[in-house]
Symmetry: C2
Subunit: 278 residues, 2 copies
């Protein structure tokens, strides 16, 4: 079995702080504007040439629609092994990371020779089709603190970034179903546009968190489990907001620790998704 070709990719987690869906004629033209942070905690995807295309996540065989759509775009049959320490379905972009990592890794073992932008487009379109996310893939491909200025795959979208390296702390309590929320997107129309223009007027990571808190309240998305913790961090002089979409608090630097909590900690990941050197 040692002669089977395998390839590993790492994709950072991505927490959206605010967003606004943008619907286009195709999945590649669909996406969201907004801003978030990419994290050094992420998803490692290993693909191996195989006779059947099983998908395993953290040791369990699963059905993962966006990964399935990605695999359909390639001529090679591979098994996919996904490993992550991030909470699932809690606003860390695990499905987008799994889709993008699969696209990068399967391309490397196949002879298909797609470019990076083509691979990002395949993964982004798979997420949109599966209704598991709208902006994570393009953000995860770039890394850092990506601002999605225009929505969609690289051919249509436009990304800028807030420079800066920071520690990020997080606490997660459970899932929010992304599909349900993005389908009732009318209520974000003004909040997302306004948040983006406030951020680009004076872009900083502190401002991003402040804008995120306003966005969460205005859209009514802030879970009861999350609101008091965000308040505690801000009361202790820190910056925190909720992850879109999850029952998750993220805080800048040592915000949660300073407020007396015992969070997970990582940092902004400046590079985006990468293939591992073989």
């Amino acid at each position: 079995m040692t002669d089977r070709v395998a390839q590993e990719a790492f994709v950072p987690g991505h927490v959206t702080v605010f967003f606004q869906p943008r619907w286009g004629d195709t999945p590649a033209e669909t996406g969201s504007i907004g801003c978030g942070v990419t994290l050094s905690d992420g998803v490692t995807v290993t693909v191996t040439e195989d006779t059947d295309s099983a998908v395993v996540m953290n040791g369990q065989v699963i059905e993962m629609e966006p990964v399935r759509y990605v695999l359909e775009s390639f001529s090679t049959t591979v098994s996919v092994d996904i490993e992550t320490s991030l909470p699932i379905g809690s606003g860390f972009g695990v499905s987008g990371a799994a889709a993008l990592g699969t696209a990068l890794a399967v391309n490397a073992v196949s002879g298909d020779r797609r470019t990076e932008n083509e691979l990002v487009t395949i993964a982004h379109s798979a997420e949109v089709k599966a209704e598991t996310g709208l902006g994570d893939v393009v953000a995860q491909a770039r890394g850092g603190i990506p601002i999605r200025v225009a929505a969609g795959a690289p051919e249509f979208g436009e990304i800028d970034g807030i420079p800066g390296m920071h520690r990020i702390e997080y606490l997660s309590f459970g899932e929010v179903a992304t599909t349900d929320v993005i389908r009732e997107s009318d209520r974000f129309v003004s909040a997302g546009t306004e948040a983006l223009s406030r951020l680009t007027a004076a872009p900083s990571v502190e401002k991003l968190f402040e804008i995120g808190r306003g966005f969460a309240e205005e859209t009514g998305l802030l879970p009861d489990s999350v609101a008091p913790i965000v308040d505690d961090v801000v009361g202790a002089g820190g910056e925190a907001t909720m992850a879109m979409l999850g029952e998750t608090v993220i805080a800048l630097d040592t915000g949660l620790s300073d407020a007396g909590y015992d969070p997970s900690a990582c940092h902004i990941r400046s590079p985006g998704a990468t293939l591992q050197l073989q």
Copy 2:
């Protein structure tokens, strides 16, 4: 002295394999199309708030025009310390890296709050104005194996990438004056466009090196010192080409070693320029 604010940035080296200048009305609209490789060997820039803006490279005070232009875009006065093990003026994009690293680092110590794309634009425009390069900065900001599909700063340019991690070996014999070559760019017009369309038809890093050899011969840029070494590597079954613009051979994987040379070695740097975590 310990309370002065300092910030460090790392920018990968970048070797252009083929290119074609594209002249626009402004420096931001000017640039080049083409393709190259970014390297884990690069340039570290440390800026420190100071009363005068001395620029020091590898221990020596120097005048570096693109860095000077970058500093003029910021309100804070800083000294700049540039460290690199790369050969200077030999096709590794050291001037572009110094400009981009300075822009990222001085922004972090100033209150100017530029976005990433704005900082890339400042550094790119400084390089174009100083006539020290046309495509390095945008490539170094992205990392990997960047294809410059459309020329210029982020607002105008467009970048794709060839996925892949490889060892890169290099041997350098001396300088080629970039300014002189890019001024007589008429002879690249057809060679650069043709090289780009051949690469995007079947993008791979092996193809890139093969196209680079043809481009170097067709444009008459291949130095006599470089040509026989490129032949040796290809004769030994490897891939090599010249760096645009320098008396420099770069080879894929162990190409130069396999042909009996004793090269410097590094690898493709997947992330682009990054601020160091403080």
